[in-house]
Symmetry: D2
Subunit: 311 residues, 4 copies
């Protein structure tokens, strides 16, 4: 059992963390693939039992993780990744697997979570900025307004953070869902990873929604199928590491390698309390957010354009 | 009767427009005051009959207009108006007259309408930025979280424009009101005036809500008491004039002064059709929006702080 | 001779304006082409004499105007014009004609003029945002740092407006040019047109630089070859019309068609003085600026990438 | 001697760091004061010899540090610190000590360093946004344009980061100084601290300018009196800690307390290499930057308004 609890939004990392100590894990199915051409590694983690959910601190469901070293790199002469197009296409394919299948056009409400005034937290608002939104065209002009038949019908909200709205995001989304009746909600958010090496190059797509503040249990503020009554797909990219995690990880490793006295001395040298409410992020986070949000938006636009034709 | 229909959000201007032709107007009560110290002229227009509402193209209700030449001027060495504090206080007093009176703390949802990416339309989002929001503090810490007893309890949403959300603003607000149950809604928006001389120096506060696109009649997208079931106060400042209005006003005047042949020749010289979807705005609109939104937010913060103590 | 002076930054319009009254014009050579596939009309105006320069209110030199109705339109399912790529290529070709030819890599300082806080004036800063800048790579890593040999070497400054800097833009640019010694300056700016029908769909490229405030004569604040000692190419898109122009144009037409008494009556009906410091702009200026700046930046990136290989 | 080199922009921290190991330090004079009413602790560090400069990794000169726990806190019902006014006044007093004294009005070029797209690095641009700039008023209207006689004359540039300009900031500033000839340069920048407990509540004012990338020695990119020929005052607030520093500080402490074997094991447990190019910052950095930049701008405006009357 780990000495500290993992602070990560990635199921992939939570699994590694538990596995380190326990080896195999019942109630968790893991599959892995490669997309060699674009250097993408895909891991599909399915948490199938309440027990394994509790152990990993993540709700039951499917978590698809795409590791793409080139995601936040610029091309030789352009501002986006060289494989931008192929990466977006692969993301779109994976996203489509988790979206519900409908006979009619799928109505999706996209929710861009996060704080647009903090660079590392602005992924959701930045993706929203680039989306092709169509619901009002349908309302106003009927099917003609969509440009093509069978386009997915999209709406989008950037609710803002609780310090500025005074409301839980879950309250805002619930209200809008009841009023506008989409078939599914797609939440975009910046995530926290446990390791800096995953920052800005990993995409997690899950069908378990969003559970701010906690893992399993506290459903008051959850944005998930249980709360909204429709499927909630969450898509995120880790952009920060909780600062305390960096030191905790070091201590975790020392705990195995040092004797108890040395470990306790080492732990007391650490300055964990001054890291409260601090996070670690990359120095070039502004260009990174621009590139990643551009590719994610492209993937979403691809999905919404062709989504229904495939159904 | 006017040759063209007035394109103005100001009841004050609509009244002048109709009055020009008709003299007195049944079903409209007008009172005027001066606040000489801060150079403020206050006009209270009450539209009391369905008939006068139709004639003015504005719903029945009360419209308070504050004309403040100094509103968008900088002080001698600071960035806000010299009378900033007194102006905010007077706005607060007028706003309080239209807000409902409660025994308990008043729960207000502020809605910052408009497009934050277009300077002249960004008043609502800019005011929202400066508000002191408290509802989540009450939820989390109880009355202690508010700092003082009997503070008004505020929440706030900046819904964004339909082209980016795919939803009517009325749908978004309705959903959030049903979920969070405020006592009143306060909508902040940039308005269109008919005359450039009113731009950025006039504040209109009304208890009639917002009726995008039309005046009376079309209630589908209205944000008003009838639609939401709670009082809706609207507060706005004209920042643009519809471009066609400038030419229409000139034609209107010519219509009275020229003979018919000359007038028709004059009208044909006008280029009205190229003004479709154009607006007129001030060249220094960026600093203006900053100053005005700062003063409006101050007025709102004053209102919310003391609002209930007065009740 | 025109009754009012034309307020336009477009040589094309200045010529039309004078031509309306005078027919042909000595000292002005005009050539026109079509690029039918992308619906582009190209006009090349050369002002060759001091006299014609004075008449048109524009300095001697070459003005290439690209009229592209599709420039600010979105594609069917994407956010940029369908012919985005071809349009950028054609702009790049025209731009290259005016840039100096060098044996070595061309060093260009791009200047993004305008106010990033006013949507209609933010074209320069928005284009700057998307540029591929390379000069510091060369300084740090030598030719290896550029990715390819013979890439043009680019630097970029967004100086901000005088109200915020307290300095003439010409002073800022002059200082930076002396210190960093580029071969040429490329200024990007939002322009004023005389007709709203040219807004957001016209690109003007000239080798005459920028002369804020006036046409010919006042060289104190000019950003041109005479002031900087190196070629200055200016590229701009009209995004606003001076509000007074709309009315002046109507009066101009009336002056020809009405008798003197009727005209004077008509003129007095006009409200020119209230239009001082006002401008007319499109209601969807935010998405327009995004699209146009994206296409212009693409054109510049193409030019800098291949510019020298062609030389 | 310290095991790792301190990564801090604060002379105060550099001194503590060296002192920990060495006790007293020749060539460094330290004075301390309290301003009890506003909870401010003032430390004045003078580095007087080349040797102590090298030891501390900071150029010779005077460093005034103001520690103000309330700097980034909001008041009870407003968005700025309760002692905002008094804090600004004290900062202004300290700043005035380092600014040159002139018989005539002092001409100051303010330089807002940093990246406006990264929240934690946006302090310089944010302060610049709120400054009262006057130089162009003097140029245009003479002394009348300044509102009062003997106002300090201010200009301001926000140069942007090298990745976007392709130029060293020193090149840009040097060019502008030569062209516009101010008496002094005042550089505003976000700093890196060594300890998170100093973040957002410490202001350092020095007369040594800015030396990006290194401490002493590398003068190529320095913005200081030697490079510009006029006094350069630097004012900054630490908003980030280099991520590697957190771990290095822990190791430093272990080095003293653990035996060598345990220490080496501990060190190997650390993940220093994954912290390259990462920084630690506060989660509420957006509201912090807003508050701090507002107070700093107020302090600067006070200084410029009264600066010369005192001389």
């Amino acid at each position: 059992m780990a000495y500290f609890q993992a602070r990560t939004d990635l199921a992939l990392e939570a699994r590694e963390y538990v596995e380190d100590a326990n080896g195999e894990l019942r109630g968790v199915i893991v599959e892995e693939y490669e997309r060699e051409k674009i250097g993408m590694h895909i891991t599909k983690v399915q948490i199938t039992t309440q027990n394994s959910a509790k152990l990993l601190g993540k709700p039951k469901g499917t978590y698809i993780t795409l590791e793409i070293p080139g995601l936040c790199e610029s091309g030789e002469t352009s501002d986006v990744s060289e494989h931008h197009e192929e990466i977006a296409k692969e993301i779109s394919l994976q996203l489509r697997e988790l979206l519900p299948q409908k006979q009619e056009s799928l109505q999706v409400l996209v929710v861009g979570l996060g704080n647009r005034d903090i660079t590392a937290d602005a992924l959701g608002p930045a993706v929203a900025e680039h989306l092709y939104i169509s619901r009002h065209m349908l309302q106003e002009f009927g099917e003609m307004g969509l440009g093509k038949n069978n386009f997915a019908i999209t709406s989008c909200i950037v609710p803002g953070v609780m310090g500025k709205t005074g409301m839980e995001t879950a309250e805002i989304v619930k209200g809008i869902v009841r009023e506008t009746k989409p078939h599914a909600v797609l939440v975009i958010d910046a995530l926290a990873a446990r390791s800096t090496k995953r920052l800005n190059r990993t995409i997690q797509i899950s069908n378990t929604g969003i559970h701010p503040g906690s893992g399993v249990g506290n459903h008051r503020n959850a944005i998930d199928e249980e709360a909204l009554g429709i499927p909630v797909i969450a898509m995120g990219v880790p952009t920060v590491v909780d600062a305390a995690t960096i030191v905790e990880d070091a201590l975790e490793k020392m705990h195995k390698e040092l004797n108890e006295t040395a470990f306790l001395q080492a732990r007391d040298s650490m300055v964990l309390n001054q890291l409260h409410n601090m996070y670690v992020t990359a120095k070039d986070i502004d260009t990174t957010i621009k590139r990643v949000s551009f590719t994610l938006a492209e993937a979403l636009n691809m999905t919404f354009e062709e989504g229904v034709k495939q159904a």
